[in-house]
Assembly symmetry: C2
Homo-oligomer: 295 residues x 2
């Protein structure tokens, strides 16, 4: 079975009735399952996760954009998190039996529908980007809703689909395709946050480490210990095992040990099986050997 995940972020994190109506629009689509959602009032933003077969997911994602445009007025929106529109960002993620290429195609079809049927300007980003400078979502969102009102009229900021002017209430939307992200924290047996920060710098792309890794060093209040908090943005490129071993090696330079690690939220089975295969030195292992894959 082909399974695509969709994690739309929309610009409402306070009004429960609005949040529920948008999620209900997803629940109403047959063949789609809502896995999780969380709203942040200070960001005034909700992150929703659902999965299903490609066509059902595309339909549900379209309805998020449609319902958000109906119920959210960006002229009234305030929140700490950068955003350009009501349905701010809609990534499609291949999970099972689907290639990245298929998700890119699906994102472009979804973008076309949103642009043409809802009259909302659409920017394609990450793997679905049509220009190199639009791969990076932060770059697509620069200036945010307020700044984009004027900038959208320039050739450089012309949207991929829809009109070259902001939708009067819904603004614009970024639609993309990307690998699954694993939120992964590694705990150290030190109270020196500088060590966690130094390790984070050594592994993250922004300071010369792995391009698909984002990382910060933080001090955990409850334990008084330092932690490297990591986004593994492409586990097929840089695996959990490689991240763990690199952090272990860097920590060793300070005489610091890893006490444990944590996976926050959901993780694709393959990301963990890759770690098992790495450490057990598995040869010729196929995902189809996993009993649960046969059910």
């Amino acid at each position: 079975m082909k399974i695509v995940e969709c994690v739309p972020n929309f610009s409402e994190g306070r009004r429960k009735d609005v949040i529920e109506k948008i999620i209900d629009a997803v629940r109403a689509v047959e063949g789609v399952k809502v896995l999780d959602y969380s709203s942040d009032p200070s960001h005034n933003r909700t992150v929703l996760t659902f999965v299903g077969e490609p066509m059902a997911v595309k339909e549900a994602a379209f309805r998020v954009a449609e319902k958000a445009a109906e119920l959210i007025d960006m002229e009234q929106h305030q929140g700490e998190h950068p955003r350009i529109g009501a349905a701010d960002v809609i990534p499609l993620i291949p999970i099972s039996g689907v290639s990245m290429e298929e998700c890119v195609e699906l994102a472009r079809e979804l973008g076309r529908d949103i642009g043409e049927k809802l009259g909302i300007p659409v920017y394609l980003y990450e793997e679905a980007a049509t220009r190199p400078d639009r791969k990076n979502l932060a770059h697509v969102r620069r200036g945010e809703y307020e700044g984009l009102k004027e900038a959208i009229k320039t050739p450089e900021r012309q949207p991929d689909f829809g009109p070259a002017q902001m939708h009067p209430k819904a603004g614009a939307v970024a639609v993309g395709a990307r690998p699954p992200l694993v939120a992964y924290n590694i705990n150290l047996d030190t109270d020196k946050v500088e060590i966690a920060k130094a390790i984070a710098r050594s592994i993250r792309g922004s300071s010369g480490g792995y391009p698909s890794i984002k990382a910060l060093g933080v001090l955990i209040e409850e334990t008084g210990k330092a932690q490297v908090t990591i986004n593994v943005c492409n586990y097929k490129e840089v695996s959990l095992a490689r991240v763990f071993e690199t952090v272990k090696s860097e920590a060793g330079r300070y005489g610091v040990n890893i006490t444990g690690s944590e996976i926050v939220g959901l993780v694709p089975m393959e990301a963990l099986l890759d770690a098992a295969a790495f450490y057990l030195r598995l040869e010729g292992f196929q995902l189809e050997q996993v009993l649960e894959k046969r059910l």
Copy 2:
């Protein structure tokens, strides 16, 4: 969803039409899926694997016993592998959402049905055993079909269900419950099979190692290298990671390295996730965090 696996071994590995008719009896049960089967002509025996919800699996297992009794005549059976009956051994294995206790109960219900409805003597073994000396399948099968004809009349060999005499064609059957077995081989960078044999002795229960581990040292013809070939009979008791690390440590005593390992056939997802969790030192990890478990 509750998933039970059943791996009946029946005493026919040569006549294709008989083998197919017995497997068709399983396929005819709704809610059961045949995952695999393999027939060995010299053993004159077939190993069948199917899965499904508990009640459907019990029904399909009953039909294996029924069909095997109809089509196999133990008076005519010859083969290298030890056996006591047509449907020789029927283990039930908890896979997902099912406890061992539930599988034991299911095995006893299945045994009662086979004994009462088919008139075949049934011995409960492993986790389902009613006496300590029947835990070990080899002990239940001692004397084989031919020897059990007389021995069954003694109090010690009285079956758990059914008549205290062999079924005239089908003989007897062992019905049990056990954890999933993982067939796991570890390859060494040496051509000295004695080293693999010594390592096997150090880890297997029969020579003082882990009680749930069976192991042999062999020389692989294709590679000319030694291998420790292992049955991990209870991965919750002794994990793949512990087996790997013990073999690694023992091999180190001879200056020998592990070049790789292999999983033969199917493996429960949890057995590999446990290995990932061990090496990544995962804290508070729940199986429900695996995305595929939510679908």
